[in-house]
Amino acid sequence: MSTAAAVLVVAGALLACAGSLGLVRMRTFYERVHPPTMGTTLGTGLILIGSMLYFSALDSRPVLHEILIGVFMTLSTPVTYMLLVRAALHRERKDPGG
């Protein structure tokens, strides 16, 4: 069971790493907004499922409080990025280039 949890953790970490690599590789800001969401949604989800599996096996009872982080990230990420992209649009309209 702990091996399955560890495999899930590595998969999630790989997704987060790929997302951050996209942050470095993409050329414009609007392209750069996309990759990190891979880490914040699927990466976080996989690591949380791994954590739930591991602690459920460790305590021999269902441990589900990790869902809290999952729900919170799912709700907060779109709000943050929408505000950020709106700010970027506003700034680039006011001061293009630079």
Partner: protein, 93 residues
């Protein structure tokens, strides 16, 4: 055997998350504009939160879960405040 394998895998996961933080830090330092830096900071706190979670799995206590939850909440508030600041020039109107 299984314990050692999962230990190695958890170590690998921590390494990958550390690498992800280095990439985000590069974008945070490089810019080129302020909203790029805010986006990099957002990615950085998510990666840090995941790193704390994985460390909690490795340590075998549920204590680190609460730290990760706090990092997630404060990160959301700070990124929203920074985005508001970029949008309006002030945080609280």
């Amino acid at each position: 055997m299984s314990y050692e394998l999962s230990g190695t895998l958890l170590w690998l996961g921590q390494l990958l998350l550390g690498l992800a933080m280095v990439f985000a830090l590069y974008r945070l330092l490089r810019g080129p504009r302020a909203h790029d830096r805010v986006l990099a900071l957002d990615t950085l706190y998510v990666d840090a939160m995941l790193l704390v979670l994985v460390h909690g799995i490795e340590a075998g206590t549920a204590l680190y879960f609460e730290a990760a939850l706090v990092i997630g909440m404060l990160g959301f508030v700070s990124t929203t405040a920074l985005a508001k600041f970029l949008l309006r020039g002030e945080v609280i109107e």
